[in-house]
């Protein structure tokens, strides 16, 4: 049954890709892809629930093999849960013109490549899937955007950074395969140089693909310019597949790691979480903001993985397994709410024509279904009870708290710092998503086009509503998944699946109970309040007229934080006034928060390499005599070296 679904699901995705390329069967093709993705995901979750594995086992030989075990099954489930609604959404979001058809057709190889990475059992299939997973979305962006200058530049950055960083993936996988360590955690040798090299290379390579700071530069550029369903797939699934690879290599195959590696992962996680959310706060474009939040959430997941590594190195195996479960649960949670938010953003863009935060507003009234689902997603990503983001952040906090409980002074302080960073990240995410919800969904509409926005068609509504329901359901019963996920750690036994989260040494989180109590109390209070209300009144502005020009903006709401963090962020502002006859006539204001990692890390590197390239180009003068001189020089050098016994 499961095996058949695992074969038919990808088959349906492939067939759907072909059908979506034709105008007549465009929607049916997308629907077939969605069904295939749902089938694959369901089969994957069945494998996770049942344990065991299907297909081939892992091998370090270079023979293509495919198989599914519980961890692969979980990531296939994530793929299905995100891809099915995203493709249903795409049925109406994409127009059946040439670009839309090409996008719809290419989504099929994109899905198959990601499923291929997850199901690969040997280095060849893995690396082939890995590279296509990078190249196919690049093609989609170029096709969908019509290859204008900006998107070509972005795609170039994306490919350059992921390939330079992605070299780490090749190094780590091939090093492991060379030592026979694919699927064999004893091969690398605990504490050996090989283990450290494999883990560091994996962190660089897979970390680049997952968007870990400071290797994230491509992500906030590439994710926003893809069509909304593809953005959802990239943020929801692609970076999760990179995390799958990281978990496989670092947690499973590399064996028990030395302590410092765990602390390094904690540091990378804290930097990504805080850096992602802080820069997200100062964005003015909704999709770019969401892309930066992906970096934040990858950081939170890394905090869980880092806690797992440190705890395992300290011998606290039970809590190490819980920490891994927390990281994996947050992976799925983030996939769900980030896909929901990207799809919602796509619906808003379609209805209102722009995603500039300061030029939307009041969409909850115009689009109650999409807006309501978006509100749920925003509360979930902000880590608010009783939704799913809260459950996994609570678990991650608990895991980080165990780091000082089991550790020495240095790791203990690192764990406590990570704990504080996660708490601050959660509060910053609340600030950020209150701003997003306020500017997009609430208040008066800020443009005429927004005031005339229309609710999305039924398939798009269904997709966002499904994801919102999934967020609520996983928030009410996170334990159903957390038990099996914590059992995925190779050193842990199977864990029972319960609805709530009962962990030793905690006050336990009966998530369903909290949801019920919150909902029940709120409902009772709403009933008690009644509907009695005086005549409507305008908002209070000290008696002044409320003008649209005085409306609060994104920059205004985040100004206190910008001032508080001035020393770190170094915001730039320009105020220029024009005077005439001693009276100020006009004030022009421009504010900007530069991305410090871009400016301080990447710009000098890019400048140096360009300067080096310019130097190297001088060698190519084009004159034949110079080339002959090079050849003679080379021959003389080789001969001299041979004479001195340096070569040969």
């Amino acid at each position: 049954m499961t095996a058949a679904a695992l074969a038919f699901g990808p088959g349906a995705i492939a067939l759907g890709g072909i059908l979506a390329a034709l105008r007549r069967t465009f929607r049916a093709g997308l629907g077939l892809q969605a069904a295939g993705a749902a089938l694959t995901g369901a089969a994957g979750l069945a494998v996770l629930a049942a344990g065991g594995s299907h297909g081939a086992g892992f091998t370090s030989e270079l023979h293509p093999r495919l198989g599914v075990d519980a961890l692969s099954g979980f990531f296939l489930g994530t793929l299905g849960l995100v891809a099915a609604p995203a493709l249903v959404f795409a049925q109406r979001y994409l127009e059946p013109d040439a670009r839309g058809r090409a996008t719809a057709a290419l989504s099929s190889p994109f899905l198959l490549a990601m499923a291929g990475v997850v199901c690969a059992r040997d280095p060849v299939t893995f690396l082939a899937g890995w590279e296509s997973m990078t190249l196919v979305p690049a093609t989609i962006i170029l096709v969908a955007r019509g290859a204008d200058r900006r998107s070509r530049q972005t795609v170039f950055t994306y490919l350059a950074v992921t390939h330079l960083g992605g070299a780490g993936t090749w190094v780590s996988v091939l090093l492991l395969a060379g030592a026979g360590g694919i699927g064999n955690s004893a091969a690398a040798g605990a504490g050996s140089g090989l283990q450290a090299a494999v883990v560091l290379a994996a962190l660089a390579g897979m970390g680049t693909k997952a968007g870990v700071m400071p290797l994230h530069v491509w992500l906030p550029r590439a994710h926003p310019i893809a069509p909304a369903p593809v953005s959802a797939l990239m943020s929801g699934v692609m970076i999760k597949v990179a995390l799958y690879a990281l978990v496989r290599v670092v947690v499973e195959w590399a064996g028990p790691p030395p302590l410092w590696l765990g602390v390094l992962v904690l540091a990378a996680g804290a930097l990504s979480a805080l850096g992602g959310v802080v820069y997200a706060l100062f964005q003015h474009d909704l999709k770019r903001l969401l892309a930066l939040h992906s970096i934040e959430n990858v950081g939170i997941i890394l905090l869980g993985i880092g806690a797992c590594l440190v705890l395992r190195a300290r011998g606290a195996e039970t809590w190490a397994a819980f920490a891994l479960g927390a990281a994996l649960l947050h992976t799925l949670n983030h996939a769900l709410f980030k896909a929901l938010l990207f799809l919602g953003a796509g619906a808003f863009e379609r209805a209102a024509g722009s995603l500039e935060l300061d030029r939307l507003g009041g969409l909850l009234r115009r689009m109650p279904w999409t807006g309501g689902a978006f509100l749920v997603g925003a509360a979930a990503i902000a880590g608010l009870p009783p939704l799913n983001g809260f459950a996994s952040e609570w678990l991650t906090l608990q895991a980080l708290l165990r780091v000082p409980a089991y550790g020495g002074v240095r790791e203990g302080v690192a764990g406590a710092l990570a704990l504080a960073a996660l708490a601050a990240t959660a509060a910053l995410a609340v600030l950020c998503f209150v701003k997003v919800v306020g500017l997009v969904l609430l208040g008066p509409p800020r443009r005429e086009a927004v005031a005339a926005a229309e609710e999305a068609p039924a398939p798009m509504r269904a997709a966002t509503a499904f994801l919102a329901l999934a967020c609520v359901a996983l928030g009410a019963a996170p334990g159903l998944l957390f038990g099996p996920l914590a059992g995925l750690a190779p050193w842990a036994g199977p864990a029972p699946a319960r609805a709530g989260l009962q962990l030793p040494g905690t006050g336990s989180l009966p998530a369903g109970g909290i949801a019920l109590v919150l909902a029940g109390l709120a409902a009772a209070l709403v009933l008690l309040r009644g509907r009695r209300s005086a005549a409507p009144a305008p908002t209070w502005a000290c008696g002044q007229l409320v003008e649209p020009a005085l409306a609060w903006s994104s920059a205004g709401f985040t100004k206190p934080l910008r001032l508080v963090l001035e020393l770190v962020l170094r915001p730039e502002r320009e105020v220029a006034g024009r005077e005439a006859g001693g009276v100020l006539q006009e004030v022009a204001y421009r504010g900007h928060v530069p991305h410090l990692i871009d400016e301080r890390l990447y710009r000098p590197v890019a400048r140096l390499s360009l300067a080096g390239a310019a130097r190297a180009r001088r060698l190519q003068s084009g004159s034949l005599g110079v080339y002959v001189a090079y050849l003679i020089g080379l021959v003389v050098t080789v001969l001299a070296a041979a004479r001195l016994g340096l070569v040969g």
């Binding site: 909850l364 608010l384 002074v409 302080v413 309040r529 409507p536 305008p538 000290c542």
Partner: protein, 308 residues
């Protein structure tokens, strides 16, 4: 259910839900006395709540369901927080658990609801208050989680009943970790209750409001809910302060018996700080809270260094 849990549950609901408004009332009363005024009676918040309950709410033009439901959501979050925090080392399970770290999420939910309502009303003063509140909350939440971590490490669990039991006696005098945590927690109390030097609850100038700002548009039962939620936050953080970070008796009955006196003493202490300390520049508050977070971090380091 045991007798102690039953008694603790009665104190929890009676104190946290019904008598919570007495706490800000006491602070206001004593503050006025310290400043040489007669001031309002300690039960003034109850009179205000009764009066607000009879008044009709005001609908701001152009607002929607978020504005209408936010007070109920914020009050529900505060009530859940009251149910989460046991008043002693025992307490009935109300279905919400007793976990310390879950408290941070519930407090954040209340803030989210109120700030979203400020956006819906599109009121400049409300948004100013909400934006400042959320900015400060970044530092408050980090400090709160670190102080709770100190208490959890000392007592070996994040179950608040276990934390109350594990820190019982004069533990705070002998454990440097807990003492550092207590200083940091005092700052959290000032921030969560909106007291000087973080916020001035008596201000009537919209430009200086932090917690009061987002409530400007509300009236009637909506405002009553929000004022009650503020009082419930007083209860939650003061009970935590009394039963975790101050010396407290070992034994549920003694803890319950001493609680009213300790809470009154804490209210008196708040009245004294309100009288002695002036409000800080809002941009300097994060430094104060960051100093608190550093102290709590030192507390964790002290515990780890001292642990076997």
């Amino acid at each position: 259910m045991s007798g102690t849990a039953l008694a603790a549950g009665a104190v929890q609901v009676g104190g946290g839900v019904a008598l919570a408004p007495l706490l800000p009332g006491l602070v206001q009363h004593w503050k006025a006395r310290l400043q040489g005024r007669r001031g309002p009676s300690p039960v003034q918040p109850f009179r205000e709540l009764r009066r607000l309950f009879g008044k009709s709410a005001v609908t701001v033009e152009g607002t929607g369901p978020v504005y209408r439901l936010a007070p109920s959501a914020a009050a529900a979050a505060a009530a859940t927080a009251v149910l989460l925090v046991p008043p002693a080392a025992a307490g009935p399970d109300w279905g919400v658990g007793h976990d310390a770290l879950a408290l941070a999420g519930l407090l954040a939910l209340g803030r989210f609801a109120v700030a979203a309502a400020a956006w819906d009303a599109a009121n400049g003063f409300s948004l100013m208050g909400a934006s400042r509140d959320l900015t400060l909350s970044v530092f408050v939440e980090a400090t709160l989680v670190l102080t709770l971590a100190v208490a959890a490490l000392v007592s070996g669990t994040t179950d608040l009943r276990g934390v109350v039991a594990g820190t019982a006696g004069g533990h705070v005098w002998t454990s440097p970790a807990l003492a550092l945590g207590a200083i940091a927690f005092a700052l959290v109390v000032l921030a969560e209750t909106g007291r000087q030097p973080v916020d001035n609850p008596d201000t009537h100038l919209e430009l200086t409001m932090i917690h009061e700002g987002p409530l400007l548009e509300y009236a009637g039962r909506d405002l009553a809910y929000l004022q009650w939620a503020a009082a419930a936050r007083h209860w939650v953080v003061l009970v935590l302060g009394a039963q975790v970070f101050l010396p407290h008796a070992d034994g549920v009955w003694w803890q319950l018996a001493a609680l009213p006196g300790v809470l009154a003493a804490l209210c008196a202490a708040l009245a004294v700080t309100e009288t002695l300390v002036a409000k800080m520049r809002v941009l300097l508050v994060p430094r104060l809270l960051a100093a608190g977070a550093t102290l709590a971090l030192l507390g964790v380091a002290a515990w780890v260094a001292g642990a076997p």
